[in-house]
């Protein structure tokens, strides 16, 4: 899952980036409205947006993003807690908001809920072919047995199982796994797919030649 943090305060931004990375999201962080505009030319799954931004206000960034058919879930961070400003935020196209100072656990839970809703799921857990992933606890179970997965392995499976049967390209997988300043080795995705096939069986992840990878809901 690829997230964009738009926050001008370096300390808050830094903390957000760090904690979201710890949850295995690919996180990009920009500090002002103009950079946000540029960053939003890429595709994101979720945006954490601070309202008080230099150069261009968060509200304007949001309005413009929605005007250009931006599809990502947007969670707004605001220091103003009056009802009118919250209403305005939601009406500008935000999916959720949090009033500063907020609780980190709450932010992470809301991020998970928005990502879940976005992929059309109501279940917290993702499952396919007897494998169950819990994004909250980062636990995985295969046929009821606990299964150990590394953070990256978990993230790859999470992307592939979000919509079972959907083919995800290697580029898209990389996009969703790595933030801007994270180094990508050319064959990392292949390495992780290889490791996962060892743990889950060779036909758990299907290779669609020339297109990408997919995980079907039921055993083929």
């Amino acid at each position: 899952m690829r997230l964009l943090v738009i926050e001008d305060d370096p300390m808050i931004g830094e903390s957000l980036e760090e904690s979201l990375r710890n949850e295995n999201y690919a996180v990009d962080w920009v500090r002002d409205g103009h950079s946000a505009e540029l960053a939003l030319l890429q595709e994101y799954d979720l945006i954490v947006l601070d309202l008080g931004l230099p150069k261009k206000t968060g509200e304007q960034v949001l309005l413009d993003y929605r005007k250009h058919q931006g599809q990502a879930a947007v969670i707004v961070l605001t220091a103003r807690d009056e009802v009118t400003s919250r209403v305005k935020v939601l009406d500008s196209g935000a999916d959720d908001y949090l009033v500063k100072p907020f609780d980190l656990d709450e932010l992470l839970a809301r991020v998970r809920a928005l990502l879940r809703r976005k992929s059309g799921r109501t279940q917290v857990e993702l499952s396919a072919q007897g494998l169950v992933l819990n994004p909250v606890t980062h636990e995985a179970h295969l046929n009821g047995e606990p299964l150990h997965l590394s953070a990256r392995e978990f993230s790859i499976l999470q992307v592939l199982m979000e919509i079972p049967g959907q083919v995800v390209s290697k580029n898209k997988l990389e996009d969703k796994l790595y933030g801007w300043n994270e180094e990508i080795e050319s064959n990392t995705v292949e390495v992780y797919i290889h490791l996962l096939r060892k743990k889950l069986g060779s036909d758990f992840i299907k290779n669609v030649r020339g297109v990408g990878y997919k995980v079907t809901a039921l055993k083929p």
């Binding site: 305060d9 904690s19 220091a79 500063k100 907020f102 980190l104």
Partner: protein
């Protein structure tokens, strides 16, 4: 009550009107009195003329209505014998002069008229006391309309005054009934021209008040936002520390936490400094500008070295003294130094100095940092405004504090670009009026 315009108007107008009425009354009284006396004289004359000098006519004469009880008639024949007297008890001597005269007889004063007809003398007398009584009665009667006039005038005065002061009362009521947050201007239409300047002044005040309130509101909104940010950062950092899986991660998180607490403290301190220097007046004393600059620069020498900056002090040999407040001026210069240090990249230089011109004494600080875009040089003095080219995170209050203190000290602040074309040059100008030039 004594200070009320209505009461003043009513009382002074009433007193004036009453005085005028009494004066007029007294005048009318005096004239009537005089006229009455003339009339009595005429009666007296008529009485004398109508008195028959033949005795046989005397009987009829006693019926003459012209003769009141108070008129005494005496008749003398050519031989000088008194042949008639209307009252036997009062017999007056015959006065030689003809015509009117005032006489004292029988312990009272009299008005006497003597006439001569065919050798006979007719003398008519009337006591002054009687005449006065009658004249006074007559004169008083002519004053009777005043009894109605005086209360009528008083009522009319009070009504007119109250009626004309009604716009004032209406305005008072309108202001009294306002809610404390209603700062809309008072309507001037239909107001008398005398009230318009007051209303205008009041409306001006309301407008200024509204501006102040809006600014206050903005400041509170900004301050709450600015205070929430470091608190949010603190809270996040604590939660990150709690989640740390290794001891090293935990120590790192706690180190950051302590830095963030310092930032929150700095912001609160800046807010307090700003509030402290928001008052327009401050106690001033003579401050040695060179010495102050030297001591502040000394404090920053180590900080500058640590950041790889050179810090130079350039002060003239003569001592410059300005009328200022030493602690406020120190805060001002320190804030400027903080900025120079923060926004000048490593390898740059900062220069601070003072100089005197015929009109001013100046303190200037120059750096080779990122500067402030010319278009934003006015706005940077606003609270919480941050120049768009600044990545560093300050409180946003530094220059607001600097500007407030400069205003307090009566000094002028100027932002410009150094001659090198790079960085920022801040000049603080004290007018020579407040400065004193003395050689070492």
């Amino acid at each position: 009550m004594k200070n009320s315009i209505q009461w003043q108007l009513i009382s002074s107008l009433s007193i004036g009107l009453l005085l005028a009425t009494f004066l007029a009354g007294w005048g009318i009284y005096a004239v009537s009195h005089q006229e009455a006396n003339k009339l009595f004289d005429y009666y007296l004359q008529q009485a004398a003329l109508s008195t028959p000098i033949h005795l046989d006519e005397q009987a009829e004469y006693s019926e003459n209505e012209l003769l009141g009880e108070d008129i005494f008639v005496q008749v003398w024949n050519p031989e000088g014998e008194l042949i008639y007297s209307s009252n036997e008890d009062f017999t007056m001597p015959r006065y030689k002069n003809l015509g009117f005269q005032d006489i004292n007889a029988f312990n009272s004063s009299w008005r006497v008229y003597t006439s001569a007809r065919r050798g006979h003398y007719i003398q008519v007398a009337q006591p002054d006391s009687k005449r006065d009584l009658l004249a006074t009665n007559l004169a008083l009667r002519s004053l009777s309309p005043f009894i109605i006039l005086i209360p009528l005038l008083l009522l009319l005065t009070s009504w007119i005054v109250k009626r004309n002061l009604r716009p004032l009362n209406q305005m008072t009521l309108a202001i009294k009934q306002r809610s404390p947050v209603d700062l809309t201007p008072i309507a001037t239409q239909g107001q008398p021209s005398e009230l318009a300047p007051i209303t205008q002044a009041l409306n001006d005040l309301l407008e200024r008040l509204e501006h102040t309130l809006v600014a206050q509101h903005e400041f509170i909104a900004n301050a709450s936002h600015e205070l929430r940010s470091p608190l949010t950062a603190l809270k996040l950092q604590i939660q990150i520390a709690e989640r740390a899986k290794t001891e090293q991660q935990r120590l790192q998180a706690i180190q950051k936490l302590s830095e963030r607490i310092d930032r929150a403290i700095h912001l609160v301190e800046q807010l307090l400094t700003l509030a402290r220097h928001d008052t327009p007046t401050v106690e001033k004393e003579w401050v040695q500008l060179n010495a102050l600059i030297q001591s502040v620069a000394q404090e920053y020498q180590v900080l500058a070295q640590n950041k790889g900056l050179t810090l130079k002090v350039i002060t003239p040999s003569q001592a410059l003294t300005v009328l200022a407040n030493e602690s406020a001026l120190t805060i001002l210069i320190k804030n400027l130094m903080d900025n120079a240090l923060k926004y000048t990249p490593s390898g740059g230089s900062i220069r601070i100095g003072a100089k005197a011109s015929p009109l001013h004494i100046e303190c200037w600080i120059e750096d080779t940092g990122i500067g402030i875009p010319e278009t934003e040089r006015q706005r940077v003095f606003e609270r919480f405004y941050r120049a768009s080219n600044h990545q560093e995170r300050g409180s946003g209050l530094g220059l607001a504090i600097v500007s407030n203190i400069a205003k307090q000290l009566g000094a002028t602040l100027k932002l410009s670009t150094p001659t090198s074309g790079q960085g920022l040059l801040v000049i603080l100008q004290f007018p020579q009026l407040l400065a004193e030039l003395s050689s070492v």
